[in-house]
């Protein structure tokens, strides 16, 4: 098929992509027949137009809305702050606990003093145990009523 036939098909929108490619190659060459030179500019414009582009490509940062970026930043900041507070509170509790422990240390000078403090400490433990067993008895009543344990 010669160029004239291709051009006729081209104007009629009946050319394939391959045939149009041939026309583009022809009109970019240095061997354009005089009768076809009038159309050279047209194909040149199409070629130039295909090279036009953005002044600067878009990046992900440019696309993510600033609201969403701020939201993500805030959530992360809250998480980090919460972790720091938790760590500080654990450290403080531990420190305070150490202070209390230290303040509970009693220095005794005689065996009689030591015996007295020991008896007091054991009474305290016994009292706690009794409270615990009373509480247990109290909690067992509903279970006995329900005939679970008998």
């Amino acid at each position: 098929m010669n160029i004239d036939q291709l051009l006729d098909k081209y104007w009629a929108a009946e050319t394939s992509l391959e045939e149009e490619q041939k026309l583009h190659i022809y009109f970019q060459s240095d061997n354009i027949a005089i009768e076809h030179q009038v159309f050279q500019s047209l194909f040149a414009v199409y070629h130039h137009a295909s090279k036009v582009g953005l002044s600067r490509p878009f990046t992900k940062e440019a696309l993510i809305p600033s609201r969403t970026r701020t939201k993500i930043f805030n959530l992360r900041s809250i998480g980090i702050a919460a972790s720091i507070l938790l760590a500080l509170s654990v450290v403080y509790s531990s420190y305070k606990s150490n202070l209390e422990t230290k303040s509970n240390i009693v220095v005794v000078n005689t065996p009689e003093e030591a015996l007295a403090y020991t008896r007091n400490a054991l009474a305290l433990v016994s009292s706690s145990l009794e409270k615990g067993s009373q509480s247990m008895v109290k909690n067992m009543k509903p279970l006995r009523k329900a005939n679970i344990l008998n």
């Binding site: 081209y10 104007w11 009629a12 929108a13 009946e14 992509l17 149009e20 490619q21 583009h24 030179q37 009038v38 159309f39 050279q40 500019s41 047209l42 040149a44 414009v45 199409y46 130039h48 137009a49 295909s50 036009v52 582009g53 953005l54 002044s55 490509p57 878009f58 990046t59 992900k60 440019a62 696309l63 993510i64 809305p65």
Partner: protein
């Protein structure tokens, strides 16, 4: 003709294609850039929903085309200077020849811009971007017959203008 396709919205060539179709419709560079940004943000937000789309680049082009048409309808967009958009550097030409060549190119670009919008879109997609008829139909949301009719009319219009104006290259 460019037949490479990519699905990533970060691909520069895809972004440039979106820009070119938007620019062809609104004929304003900054407006076309805004349109591309809006379309890319929409695509990013709808990422999951768009997973089932088979031909994503064509779908993105359709989105850009529609966004540009909406823009055109809503606003009175002023055309930007062609010189800002087309950098036509012919290294072999003398300054006088380059100026003459640039002037002829500008006249042809103006002719394209004056075509009815459907013809402009179809011409852009086929003759400039090199899409197959089926893809042109998908992007332009026309039937195959409508694509060929509009393309035929656009090409004839360009031919007639060239022959009347006697626009010769060089």
């Amino acid at each position: 003709m460019n037949s490479k396709q990519t699905n990533s919205i970060m691909d520069i060539e895809l972004q440039n294609k979106l820009y070119r179709i938007a620019f062809r419709i609104v004929n304003n560079g900054p407006e076309a850039e805004d349109i591309v940004q809006e379309v890319l943000i929409k695509i990013w937000k709808k990422e999951k929903q768009l997973e089932r789309i088979e031909n994503k680049p064509a779908y993105y082009m359709m989105m850009a085309k529609n966004q540009a048409l909406d823009s055109l309808r809503k606003k009175k967009i002023k055309s930007t200077n062609i010189d800002e958009q087309y950098s036509l550097k012919d290294k072999k030409a003398t300054p006088a020849q380059a100026l003459e060549s640039k002037d002829k190119m500008n006249k042809l670009i103006n002719l394209i811009n004056k075509l009815p919008v459907k013809q402009k879109i179809v011409l852009q997609l086929r003759d400039i971007e090199g899409y197959a008829y089926k893809e042109v139909a998908e992007i332009a949301e026309l039937t195959l017959d409508q694509v060929k009719v509009n393309l035929h009319r656009a090409r004839i219009a360009m031919r007639e203008h060239i022959l009347k104006a006697g626009l010769r290259h060089g």
